[in-house]
Symmetry: C2
Subunit: 611 residues, 2 copies
């Protein structure tokens, strides 16, 4: 994780860097720091959020035209001033920021300690920096050359940016595994973990690839590989508006993004779904339609909330396409030795498109001959570029660390893919196909209907906000919604919430149930409804507090529940897109009522770009 | 769930029934009751355990030669005296006990209410009983006939036993979906949910099948189907010793069973594994060897702890046999519409062999042409009988509600199956095959070595027993061990423990981490070890309390942990069988130090025979 920003050009660097870091705080906010070139290197850093850094610098001279900045999500060493980036080399000549993990740092460190180096921090970053300086001094070479030599010894993932007191207008950057965007302006360059820090200055960007090194001056951008061969930078046009990354009157990004869902689901369907003509147009799927229809097996690879979307999609694809589907945690999939055959289809699901584990997992599978389809939100991201085909979710930038609108957009896209494939394959009866297209079409309106209950859900949140634990239970399509509802609450409120398939609670978790435990049932009308009602009875028999998400008009389930949140009638296949919304609101309002920073929950970061 | 006992013959019925109920308390202990024939029906029942029932009856006249008894795990209606079984019919003529769920009870109840029936309890059982009586009166038929007619209307699962004041020497029983054993003595019969209540009286038993009805008198056993055709009872010899269901000097069954593991693992390997000859003999697998070698796909179906065994086995089979493996929650698998093709191999894993969801899941898959292999502990159980082949785990009766020795035996059996199949298929190099046979052979000794740390683990338990929450993290083969460790603690101590693949914590659960949270890492030496160490660093950076299960001699991981539990070096494939043992002990000692009844944790029951 961690966010990085850099600037070199005629403007004042500090305000650009600080504003950029604030936009990148979704990537971590344990500590922040900047290094500025102004007749020598000046480094300022502070534990806490970027605002804390600003406070601590207030009144100091921050005049500079070249600088780098960092917002940290701690991996090695606890979050404090000392471990904050930038780090300076032993001689003080170099300053560096780093996003990633150096896995063999312990080995490198012990070599350096033997040579007499002392370390001011507990970080892997300071080790790498001094390792570079050691080579620089010993080989008496250029910094660029020293970095190249050092990186050949490094095991791990990184983006690094370096300033050198002896070359004050230059930033050197290198990447492997973590994202780096360079914005190209007139006589100036911007650097960022994503494009948000440079939005108001330029629309021309270069995405740096793995094993590439960049030497950046105000009017020159040199891109090389680690073999010291020059590469031609591929300049792309950025399609992102400033307004889309601002709060627009909402108290938090998370609330804004929850309320955007009628719009984002619509954006996701628009231009693809034609319910009247009975067609779904998705060119990134169409291209691979034959292969998908013929495959024996689809593997969904994802992490976190995206993994939950994969679980729902598993059921949808098996039902509509009659293809075996497996859902894998990307982190597990990449390290064990899974059976992958040429022709297997892998669907990689990721909001950011930069999730490190997912990215490596698909790279491995691609080598084994699998077809990779990306379901990604961020256009041009690493996963999108690595995939053969796929479909963007078009949910717009998601800033709140807890994913909401990206999840419902992922489900919308995955449902459309399954419908398209199933219809071509002939595994969906015509009538059901058309009905589901209509159901999809009605989702934006129904989502808006669900959102109208926000005041009621706020009241429910007030009632249960002091609970220490929550259970979330569902069956079938709603099983994954239970997991997702629990994850939202855990992230936002630090309440220990856990989701389970409803029938599994009897195999252990029911031991937690007493009169203090709220149990949230996702109990919308579907073929398993009566079974879920039996499970409700079992929880009531043990005095658990039953809260339910139910279908409009279901008086029986309502009578068994202390509190209910309602969704309109919907086919079970699309119901998760609606039934998750009240759970997002519940988590949000509980978090807010506990006085927590719901957009930046502790310890988390938005996109997990380390393992 | 629920346990049922019955007796008809020359002996005093009450002491037999009470002793039998105590042995069946693993099936539920919310309330208990008996009905005795002694010049009319006498019913006694009480909320709580069987001992509470005994106390409440003390001093009363319990003389009788015919009786039935029940220990309840509540489904409909909270546990109290009123909802305890046996229930009596409106007229008082009939008394009934029931294990299972009547799903359409609400419909039946409203019909009866219209006819003027009033209900004393909230149970589905009382509804069924009065429904039977209504038919009996209206049709003026025999009780047997009334039961047959009633059961044709019933949706759900059940074993029922009825006493009729007008036929005082007879018990009528019927079964669908829940287990029933009849013990055949000389001029007497015994009934039980399993054979344990009749162990000291007879070794001749009849397992009643679904849709069968039994009329039982002291010297006569009539078995019929629901079409009123007589069946010949199939009398089997029971192979179970009384000593094996007693505590043998340990404070709890759970502790006894944890300490039995060197022996039970050995029992499981014995006669199968010959490390010197390099052979594995398993006739129930050998029979289907061709089919398993040729299948594209193995599906593990299980619940709870057995599901965790399936997760470990997934990795083992994929690694050693290069066959795709999926692991399914039985409850989810049976209700959605999974893709099953003829030739698919299903491995059903269950300690009791009676797990309702697993049983129905394999019945469905069997109809679709799948080959069903059972990995089951209880010989002659429903899942064992429904499977085509498979292998028993031979762990002996497991009485503690939290499964321990059954889990390590399941892993031992599954590893042997994978080795056998992989070796025949040629997907395991000879050398690795022989090495793994040796590793298996060494497990009993290594397990004994791990158990020697019990005093140290007890001290660790004391230190962390007041924690409100725990996280358990592992990767690869140890990922499922993390889930299992968390489940044990949750079941036994009611502490909210949760397991995750280590890399997933960053996608949400890490928000729970603060200086009060113990995080248990299963960090034994394997190819992912360095990655797990990185995750430890991340938790330390957020001040979580790191406790680890590590391999002997791993000083680095030890230096990062506040407390460690050690296992000897072992191949990563067999390591879970060892690394789970310290976690079983940790859960046990925390439960005991909190003063809880670890053999009978609240709300739970050993085998989940309802959905």
């Amino acid at each position: 994780m961690c966010g990085i920003v850099g600037y070199t050009g005629p403007r004042e660097a500090y305000p650009i860097i600080v504003k950029g870091l604030k936009r990148l705080e979704y990537r971590g906010y344990d500590s922040a720091g900047v290094a500025l070139q102004n007749g020598g290197l000046h480094v300022y850093k502070k534990k806490g959020k970027v605002a804390d850094l600003e406070d601590s610098i207030a009144g100091k001279n921050v005049h500079a035209h070249v600088g780098i900045g960092h917002t940290r999500w701690a991996t090695h060493g606890e979050p404090n001033d000392r471990n904050a980036h930038p780090h300076q080399s032993a001689s003080g000549r170099l300053a560096m920021i780093h996003n990633g993990i150096i896995e063999n740092y312990a080995q490198l460190k012990s070599e350096l300690v033997k040579k007499g180096y002392e370390f001011k921090s507990d970080t892997d970053t300071e080790v790498l920096l001094n390792f570079i300086e050691e080579i620089l001094v010993k080989n008496d070479c250029s910094l660029e050359e020293a970095i190249r030599i050092a990186l050949k010894r490094v095991v791990g993932a990184y983006v690094i940016l370096l300033l050198d007191a002896e070359n004050p207008d230059t930033i050197i950057a290198a990447r492997k595994g973590s994202p780096l965007v360079i914005g190209v302006g007139k006589g100036e360059h911007f650097l960022g973990s994503d494009a948000s820090p440079m939005l108001e200055y330029t629309k021309e960007v270069v995405y740096v690839n793995d094993y590439e090194l960049a030497i950046i001056k105000p009017d020159e951008l040199i891109l090389k590989n680690l073999g010291n061969e020059k590469l031609t930078p591929y300049v792309q046009k950025l399609d992102l508006e400033l307004a889309s990354i601002e709060k627009g009157g909402y108290e938090h990004f998370m609330l804004k993004e929850i309320f955007e869902q009628p719009q984002t689901i619509n954006d996701c369907l628009r231009g693809r779904l034609d319910a009247v003509a009975g067609t779904i147009t998705m060119s990134g799927i169409q291209q691979y339609a034959e292969q998908i229809m013929q495959t024996n097996r689809i593997i969904m690879v994802a992490c976190g909330t995206s993994w939950h979307a994969g679980l729902v999609a598993e059921y949808i694809f098996e039902e509509l396409c009659r293809i075996n589907v497996e859902v894998e945690y990307a982190s597990e999939f990449r390290y064990r030795n899974p059976v992958i055959n040429p022709g297997d289809v892998i669907i990689a699901i990721s909001q950011s498109g930069e999730t490190a584990d997912t990215l490596v997992a698909i790279e491995t599978a691609k080598e084994k001959g699998a077809i990779i389809l990306g379901v990604v939100n961020v256009v041009g991201s690493s996963i999108a570029r690595t995939s053969h085909g796929g479909a963007y979710t078009h949910a717009g930038p998601e800033i709140g660390v807890a994913s909401t609108k990206a999840f419902t957009a992922q489900l919308s896209v995955l449902t459309m893919i399954a419908l398209k494939v199933g219809y071509m394959k002939g595994t969906i009866p015509q009538q059901r196909y058309l009905r589901l297209l209509n159901e999809l079409n009605e989702l934006p309106e129904k989502a808006a209907w669900v959102l109208q209950q926000h005041e009621k859900i706020k009241a429910i949140a007030e009632k249960y906000k002091d609970a220490r634990d929550f259970l979330y239970l569902g069956r079938g399509y709603n099983f994954a919604v239970a997991l997702e509802g629990a994850l939202k609450l855990k992230e936002i409120s630090y309440i220990h919430a856990e989701g389970y398939p409803a029938a599994e609670m009897k195999h252990g978790p029911i031991a937690l149930v007493d009169e203090n435990l709220p149990v949230v049932f996702i109990a919308t009308k579907d073929p398993y409804h009566e079974k879920v009602v039996s499970n409700m009875q079992e929880i009531r028999a043990r005095k658990g507090q039953v809260i339910s998400v139910i279908t409009e008009g279901d008086e029986h389930s309502a009578s068994l529940s202390l509190d209910v949140m309602i969704i309109p009638e919907a086919d079970e296949i699309v119901a998760p897109i609606l039934s998750v919304i009240p759970l997002q609101l519940l988590a949000y309002y509980i978090g807010v009522s506990k006085g927590l920073d719901v957009d930046k929950p502790r310890n988390l970061a938005k996109s997990v770009t380390v393992e």
